[in-house]
């Protein structure tokens, strides 16, 4: 399997073309913008919280298949998780795409992005949504 085939799997392309949770949330608890100046990808992430728990997550923006599918799958995954659990998922996701570790089972579909680890130039695309998540959680906690 070529690097390309490893990366652009069916799952990813489907999420990229029909991203889940795409669109702004009304009255979000927190809303942060993310920007990948190195490729022009943009994301705006919206979270609704009930106490410590993420009850809804949505995003808008534009970007490549990697960044869009990552945002799509991430917003699926974090719904219903506590902030700490979400941060733990972020850690595991980055371990996979930055450090090249095998995907943690909790990452579910996101394991489809493991090929990114071998395509250094695309790591920032894959982590764009996750960096926005981290920033959103920071903002909630410091508010």
């Amino acid at each position: 399997m070529s690097l390309l085939e490893e990366l652009y799997r069916e799952t990813i392309m489907q999420h990229a073309q029909k991203p889940h949770n795409f669109g702004p949330l009304e009255n979000p608890t927190v809303r942060v913008g993310g920007n990948n100046p190195s490729c022009g990808d943009q994301i705006e992430l919206f979270l609704k919280l009930d106490g410590n728990v993420i009850t809804e997550a949505g995003f808008t923006g534009h970007g490549c298949a990697i960044s869009q599918s990552s945002a799509s799958m991430m917003t699926d995954l974090i719904r219903g998780k506590t902030l700490d659990e979400a941060l733990e998922l972020e850690r595991k996701f980055k371990a996979m795409v930055v450090e090249g570790q095998p995907p943690a089972p909790e990452l579910g579909d996101l394991s489809a992005l493991q090929g990114v680890a071998k395509l250094h130039a695309r790591v920032k695309c894959a982590t764009l949504a996750w960096n926005a998540l981290e920033q959103a959680i920071e903002e909630v906690r410091s508010a």
Binding site: S2, L3, L4, E5, L7, Y8, M13, A16, Q17, C39, G40, D41, H62, G63, C64, A65, I66, Q68, L119, A121, R122, C125
Partner: protein, 405 residues
Amino acid sequence: MFEPETIKRDFPIFANNPDLVFLDSAASSQKPRSVIDAMTLYYERDHANVHRAAYALSMRATDAYEDARGKVARFLGADTDEIVFVRNATEALNLAAHAWGLNNLHAGDEILLTEMEHHANLVPWQLVAARTGAVIKAVPVTREGRLDLDAFDSLLSERTRIFSLTQMSNVLGTVNPVAELAAAAREKGALTVVDGAQAAPHLPVRVHELNADFYALSGHKMLGPTGAGALWGRREVLKKLPPFLGGGSMIEEVQLERSTYAPPPQRFEAGTPAIAEAIGLGAAADYLMELGMENVWMHDRQLVEYALDELSAVPDLILYGPRGEDRGGVVAFNLGSLHPHDLATALDEHGVAVRTGHHCAQPLHRRLNATASARASFYVYSTKSDVDRLVEALKKAREFFAGWL
């Protein structure tokens, strides 16, 4: 005879990356051995700080640095003391915008730009406009990817104090009729700044024939090292221009509270300059003058015509920019609805290096109705076989992503 295959052998990067199809020269060109060697030899034999030379080594360094200035002047058809060394075209444009703009623009004055400008020729003027209350206007781009000359005529007015435009678009490849537009601006009493970042590497430039007042270029896009560029300024304009950066070498007399300044070009070169890089840029200018800029342009023209013909045959490929004598060696494109970043990854897997993104031209991309594009760009070492490899890789990418376009 202009033989790109032979020229390629002067560039060590290709020997070290034998499978590389490098199509990103508009972002930054590769360097010939003569440029790399000029800098290495300088460090190994002649380095010392320039100016205030009281010993032989420093005098050698000063001579080499000032010789490089002469070479850049010759390259542009300018006088030596009209050449200011800067880091890159961006700094050159900032210098012109800040030193001239902050001291000459007032509320309501108009700065005329174009919609095809690189951010380097937009943001500095925005910063200056914010400080002075001047207003930015921009000449729109036509569907074909040329400046809308009728719109130019109606936008240019007595309120226009400065007109700044690129000689060649880094996305569309369009070469603008600068001499004509600058003459019109001059008639209205406006100065013209030319962003030559893309044009200077690719076509013969005689600054005085452009009717312009400033001309900016980047060395790293014209076979020179990173860290060196130049701003040409018309002597009478430079003479009256206040300094931009302050520091050593640009002064005449310094008191604690105030100073007087050296004449140009020193007035605009504060601190220890990028000596080795200027020398490298001089060597690059020599290399290009040796090839002959007419030949470089002809080669670019032939290659881009060939590329546009071949690329037109790739299904689903959207091509930007005009066709004609005014089209340089830059080709931006998109493959259906595929994000260019994904496309570039696929091309890279076949050894073909293109750039993607907005190419520092967000307003232009808005006009093109694209958030981003992929871009292939050519230079003296680019060959038809490079174009063939691009076309082949594009076809393979199209097959790979079939169903997702």
